[in-house]
């Protein structure tokens, strides 16, 4: 296809110009529809066990028919609510996890996008927690499969380094920070491997080469190990540490064009509102140069909220201090599940332009007392 103006394709959903030959819109992820191309082959999907927050205590089984998200009514077999007609959400479009009372996350398709390419995987045990979020690149097809595979692979690696796992990280804080940094890199490599595996499987099903438009995603993970937090990332999904007292901070540093501009001195508001702002400079995928996560650690001096989220949330509230205010507003009850759900609803209310994931952990570290001597 020649790239002259008459061949310019516009996305039917959001109106953005799409790359010639692109099968998905880079802005909103809608399939662009081939002009006489081959019919799409069968999809490769990951087994999505229904993630359930609270199994029914009486029967012990999960809510097989989740209620309508808009009005709470029953979803009919044809996929729409019997009261208000809102389409039922598939598991992939909206799921929630709560591995412990102090760790929870919500992953949602948002309003504008046709698919949910965000994914999330959480784990917790005692004072240990692992939170992983991956944001699929919407201009590459099947990134939703990739992001789900990546997040689960990374979480499993982190759990292996946790207190119940075979390679448990132990020792003084400094030794544990070093141990967890290694664990983070192992996790991101495993995630990258999972994406590559998914890409090969998909290519085999479709009969194409892996290098044509490979599925890709960002990676961000945070580990709470009793008294310390270690974060690792590739791309522009973020980790925020939001203490109850003291300054809020963004632990991760975006691997994005906007961040490079900010580092070069351009004001944050200008850099973030530019059309190229979201071009990511590091990611997971078959065409990624390397998949070693960059890491950062912090030793909290008091209790607070750890937030791991995708850009579907922070696009509406980028500054760390404002994010702290926002989370505090929704987290007055102290329940991370309610707070995460509220954050997702808030982001949808702002327009839901992208998929939204918010994972929260309530870190209840005793404030260190500095004694006056």
């Amino acid at each position: 296809m020649s790239a002259d103006d008459s061949d310019l394709v516009r996305c039917p959903q959001c109106g953005e110009n799409a790359a010639p030959g692109g099968r998905f819109c880079e802005n909103c992820g809608t399939p662009l529809g081939d002009a006489g191309g081959p019919t799409p082959p069968a999809e490769v999907t990951l087994e999505m066990a229904p993630t359930v927050v609270d199994p029914d205590p009486a029967t012990g089984d999960s809510a097989a028919r989740r209620p309508c998200a808009a009005c709470g009514g029953v979803i009919a077999p044809d996929g729409y609510c019997t009261d208000c007609g809102t389409p039922g959400q598939s598991e992939r479009d909206h799921f929630e996890e709560r591995p412990a009372g102090w760790v929870a996350g919500v992953c949602d398709r948002g309003v504008r996008h046709a698919r949910n390419e965000d994914a999330m995987a959480l784990a917790a045990s005692g004072t240990f927690a692992a939170l992983v979020v991956c944001d699929g690149v919407s201009s590459a097809p099947d990134s939703d499969v990739a992001s789900l595979a990546a997040s689960r692979a990374a979480r499993d690696v982190l759990v292996a380094y946790g207190p119940d796992g075979p390679s448990s990280v132990e020792g003084t804080p400094n030794r544990r920070i070093a141990g967890w940094t290694d664990a983070m890199v192992a996790a991101s490599r495993a995630a990258g491997q999972a994406v590559r595996g998914a890409a090969e499987q998909l290519a085999a099903v479709k009969g194409t080469e892996v290098t044509d438009d490979p599925p890709s995603c960002t990676f961000v993970a945070a580990v709470v190990d009793a008294d310390l937090i270690v974060a690792g990332w590739l791309g522009d999904s973020r980790v925020y540490w939001l203490p109850d007292t003291g300054p809020a901070e963004q632990l991760s540093v975006d691997d994005s064009w906007a961040q490079e501009m900010i580092a070069a001195g351009i004001p944050r508001a200008q850099a973030e509102s530019s059309p190229q702002a979201h071009a990511i400079t590091r990611w997971l995928g078959p065409d990624a140069p390397d998949t070693d996560a960059h890491c950062a650690a912090t030793v909290p001096s008091g209790p607070g909220w750890l937030l791991v989220c995708s850009d579907g949330l922070w696009n509406y509230c980028s500054d760390a201090h404002e994010m702290g205010e926002l989370v505090r507003r929704f987290a007055t009850c102290g329940d991370p599940h309610a707070a995460a759900a509220a954050l997702v609803r808030w982001a949808n209310a702002q327009g839901g332009r992208d998929n939204i994931t918010a994972a929260l952990a309530r870190v209840a570290v005793e404030p260190t007392v500095t004694e006056q001597r």
Partner: protein, 431 residues
């Protein structure tokens, strides 16, 4: 077993803030079987009952009466053995011709002896008296009420106006018998009133038509009986579910004839309405459904209606009418070709009827405008039938722009033919 399928044609994309969703739902019945063979009521009487009501008023004397008697006999030949039937002669009073007035049974099942006796009774019919059609409907209703069959069908023939009773009587009687049986009404000659018979046939889920020459009545009756016998499914309801807070604007049958069902709605539950559609043979009928929903933000999706086919209270087929809000005008500006075609056909029907009414009232200006619009629509939608009938009434100067001149000496029959056929639609041509 009869099988129903429903196909939905629509443009589901709405612009930001738009609320009205239009869709054409095409319902097809296959395997309906023959009437009376597949009993629609499980365990009960299936079967059909046929009544033929022939005008025996004074005006029928002569050719009309002879032709009507001949037609009734032909119809009797078409009724298969086992079907309950009766013959009514109607003037300002209604008389049961067969079974004989002194017979103990109200209706008899067809068999060779009954067939020959019925024809003998028909031969004795004579024309005298006025015309009060409500009495014919009342007698038919009384006879039908004595049978437990699922499908009840009346063929009614008249040649003149319903002049022996006030309009109110007929209207009231129509309302009383609605839902009890289906009726196909026929008018012979040019002295009857299309609107009178159309009132009957629309309420009683049947057709109305003009028979120009008395000689043609027999063939028409035979076809009507055959059509009735081919309907294997007795009572089919069209059900429309619309979401909480929405409003069903209208439900119209648009093929093979235009028929507004909106007024016949009954409630199944607060969100679902049912519209009776009578008996079905192997056939396809198209419906135009319009629903108004509350606008949702761009990117949202909502189900605007579930259109279901219910036989004996059980839903056997369904189509989904969707709404998706988008800010891409190339998507939202499109009109589904099916919706556009049938909207045009419905407009064509009303343009014809209003134009003829204006012409009859002497308002030539309105008649010219309306019939001109009808010519334009008929050409656009490829309705050649309507075009040829229109050309008998108007002189067409420019088909595309709809400029016409009323013809001076139009035959009343031609006007009536146009009127009765106005509701017949052409189906949309599927690519």
């Amino acid at each position: 077993m009869a099988e129903f399928s429903a196909e939905v044609f629509q443009n589901e994309f709405l612009s930001d803030g738009a609320t009205d969703v239009h869709a054409v739902v095409s319902v097809t019945c296959t395997g309906a079987g023959a009437a009376g063979v597949t009993g629609a009521i499980p365990g009960g009487a299936g079967g059909v009952a046929e009544i033929i009501a022939v005008d025996t008023s004074g005006s029928m004397q002569g050719r009309n009466m002879e032709a009507a008697k001949h037609a009734a006999a032909v119809a009797v030949d078409q009724i298969p053995d086992g079907t309950l039937f009766a013959i009514i002669g109607g003037s300002h009073v209604a008389t049961r011709i067969f079974p004989y007035p002194n017979a103990r049974v109200p209706m008899v099942a067809m068999e060779p002896a009954a067939r020959s006796e019925a024809k003998r009774a028909i031969a004795t019919m004579a024309a005298s008296g006025g015309t009060a059609i409500s009495t014919w409907l009342r007698l038919a209703d009384d006879l039908f009420a004595t049978t437990p069959v699922a499908q009840k069908h009346l063929i009614l023939l008249t040649d003149g106006k319903n002049e022996s009773e006030p309009t109110m009587h007929l209207d009231r009687m129509i309302a009383d018998v609605t839902g009890h049986f289906q009726c196909d009404a026929r008018g012979v000659g040019d002295r009857w009133v299309v609107e009178e018979l159309r009132k009957i046939s629309t309420a009683l889920l049947g057709t109305v038509d003009l028979i120009a020459r008395p000689e043609d009545i027999a063939e028409d009756f035979a076809a009507l009986v055959r059509k009735s016998m081919a309907r294997g499914v007795a009572a089919v309801d069209l059900r429309v579910w619309a979401p909480q807070g929405s409003q069903v604007l209208f439900v119209k049958q648009v093929a093979p004839e235009v028929d507004d069902l909106t007024g016949r709605r009954t409630e199944v539950n607060p969100l679902t309405s049912a519209y009776p559609t009578g008996a079905w043979a192997d056939e396809t009928r198209d419906y135009h459904v319009a629903v108004r929903v509350a606008a949702k933000p761009v990117g949202s999706e909502q189900l605007a209606a579930r259109v279901q086919v219910a036989v004996d209270g059980e839903v056997t087929a369904a189509g989904l009418v969707k709404a998706k809000w988008s800010d891409d005008s190339t998507l939202t500006a499109r009109i589904s070709p099916e919706v556009a075609h049938y909207t045009g056909q419905a407009e064509l029907a009303s343009a014809i009827q209003e134009g003829l009414a204006a012409k009859a009232a002497g308002d030539e200006a309105t008649a010219t405008v309306k019939l001109g619009r009808a010519v334009q629509l008929a050409a656009e939608t490829g309705n050649d039938d309507a075009t040829s009938r229109l050309r008998k009434i108007v002189e067409v100067e420019n088909e595309e722009e709809g400029t016409v001149r009323l013809k001076r000496n139009t035959a009343k029959l031609d006007e009536m033919a146009l009127d009765t056929a106005s509701t017949k639609t052409t189906r949309v041509r599927r690519a």
